[in-house]
Symmetry: C2
Subunit: 386 residues, 2 copies
């Protein structure tokens, strides 16, 4: 397997864009990434597109050639990847494999979701399709309810508090306020977070990620060719994709995600490093409790200590391991299918030293973790600055 590099990144702003359609968002991100990489559409050999629920939100399926042809690709394999909220993480994993294995030399991986649409009133039901509809869905257990149960159990078992959950929201809102592409650029106080409208006890509206439109894309090539395109590439040290049961009731212990632990352990092994070498991370904070658990599953703090760890400031931009400097899904926004590749773009921005007000001091190695459903899919990516 060859080493691979990310040579171009492209993102749209994340937000609620009444005047934009799915394709225009995706094409904007892909074109931005190709421009950043100085790659023309004709050089691209395959297109990997992550999207969770385009058919449900906007009625359009067959999205990969639909987007790909509009981005200027001609005749190349254009494929849509769906693994719930890890759809574009999975697209990136397969794109990376194809370049690492020598199948292609220049590929684009992207993700897109257009969640504000005529179907937005059905958003909880559409998102519930990432879980077990015959069981959880039929019982009315939408995702906030599932993660509320996870939070309750974590609180019961480890003494995690509502204040600790809220501290994740406060940090991510503070970071998002510094990100010009974030959906919600609003600083909040701990008191505000705690007083948020209840969604599913103990989660308030400030514990939940946003319903966003947006797209993200990257261009990847073999590492030994990266310097021909740019000096600002990032080396891909590892990408791993793992799976687990879709239904939460099939898990013996809901205070951690076996798929995240496995993806992290494999990624660290592939990269030849441990969690202590990670300088900056984007974790999948679909809910505040998810960031806390991911910080444990990925070894940034011991099991059960994610709550105090978050509240201590260790995960702030100036902390020991800055987490979600982009604002995370909480404040940057969570256009489901775009999130995985979006996280990778945000890590590359940090590795390049381009993060402006939210730039971390040490930025040699970064990690992105993309979760599907309540832990049935996980993709972990580790990147190193050129």
């Amino acid at each position: 397997m060859r080493s691979v590099a990310v040579i171009g990144i492209g993102k749209t702003a994340f937000g609620a864009f009444a005047d934009r359609d799915l394709r225009s968002l995706a094409v904007e991100a892909v074109e931005n990434a190709m421009r950043d990489a100085a790659v023309a559409p004709k050089q691209v050999e395959a297109f990997y597109l992550g999207n969770f629920a385009g058919p449900s939100f906007v009625g359009q399926n067959h999205l990969a050639p639909y987007v790909g042809m509009a981005a200027g690709f001609e005749g190349i394999p254009c494929t849509r990847f769906e693994d719930a909220c890890a759809s574009s993480g999975s697209a990136f994993f397969h794109a990376w494999q194809s370049v690492a294995a020598g199948i292609y030399d220049v590929v684009v991986a992207a993700g897109v979701e257009k969640m504000t649409s005529q179907s937005t009133p059905r958003v909880a039901e559409i998102l519930a399709g990432a879980g077990d509809m015959a069981g959880e869905g039929r019982a009315g257990a939408t995702f906030p309810a599932l993660f509320a149960m996870i939070a309750r159990r974590h609180m019961h078992q480890f003494g995690t508090t509502r204040e600790q959950l809220a501290s994740v929201a406060v940090k991510n809102h503070a970071n998002g306020a510094k990100n010009p592409l974030a959906h919600m650029r609003k600083v909040i106080s701990l008191e505000q977070a705690l007083a948020g409208k209840p969604i599913a006890e103990p989660l308030t509206v400030y514990d939940c990620s946003l319903i966003s439109d947006g797209a993200a894309a990257v261009v990847i090539v073999p590492l030994d060719r990266a310097a021909r395109y740019t000096s600002r590439f990032a080396k891909v040290l590892a990408v791993t994709q793992t799976s687990d049961h879709v239904a939460l009731d099939r898990k013996a212990d809901i205070t951690f995600f076996p798929a995240v632990k496995a993806a992290g352990e494999k990624a660290y092994k592939l990269a030849g490093i441990g969690p202590q070498q990670i300088d900056v991370a984007e974790l999948h904070d679909c809910f505040t409790i998810a960031e806390i658990i991911a910080s444990e599953d990925l070894g940034f703090t011991p099991k059960g200590q994610g709550g105090p760890f978050a509240a201590s400031g260790a995960t702030a931009i100036t902390g020991q391991i800055p987490i979600n400097t982009s604002g995370g899904l909480k404040a940057k926004g969570h256009p489901v299918g775009a999130t995985g590749v979006g996280q990778i773009c945000d890590i590359v921005i940090q590795l390049r030293g381009d993060a402006g007000e939210r730039q971390v001091a040490k930025h040699k190695i970064g990690l992105a973790q993309n979760l599907g459903g309540s832990g049935a899919t996980c993709v972990v990516t580790i990147l190193e600055a050129a």
Copy 2:
């Protein structure tokens, strides 16, 4: 790239099964394929699942781990591929790439669709999502209408007749009647086909494929390991995936599909053979005109001659190039996401000499062609008997 072999195939019956859900169909096919290959779930290193519209038909998304865990896989990458009606063709293409490139040694590629559901009354709209919803869909041009336009143009330009279209239906119904797993096992006469209820002029109900439930799966390994598992493997000579515009009005000439021509030419080149070496083929007859055009695009007959070629008997089981001996999408059924891998299973059945009443005399090399939308995706696979 290593040579690859299909060592196991598994299919469910195709039909309208009120008492079966999507997962049980997919698991049945995957288990059949693993049993056929004498492979245990724990040996499988990655799972590639094609599905077009599970979320729309049955409300369940995140289908790859949903099916994969139920089939006994543990922790491995489970990914859903969506490329309209070529969804499982695309899953097979990526699965084949992964084994050919040395990433994995044992993988399962499958496809599934559960089309009879509470959402079946919306089937034309759901299928239209494989086309351009903002243009064709808004104008009310569902797939029968699009292929009717294609048929009209082919008739105008080459003199193709309604009788020639109907001859494809008559042949595929005759073949399907001999296939115990076919959805519709009913011989029809040319008169019946011509007198069928009009759907979109010039297409009658007998020119259109079926709304079916079903699943299909294959197990693939490197060729040099195939004999360890079975003597009944099939060698994969080539798999190619190509793309084109989703909207029909972006095509300069609608009497052929550039993506099919390109996928065929690349596949012949990879396999080192020409169309005259193909002994048996499964072509994507979503409509009778599609089989006629595919027989031209893949070089079985010159451009414009597909109509007389079909009517001549050349594509019958006893003809020069037997096409759709399974009954095709027309009679075997078209559970959209299952069709691509289902065609590959049907070719392997012929190559093994297991096709019973519909067995072709010469069965060394077979070809499967899987089309997405009105030609925006095409996957061509060429297989050779062990």
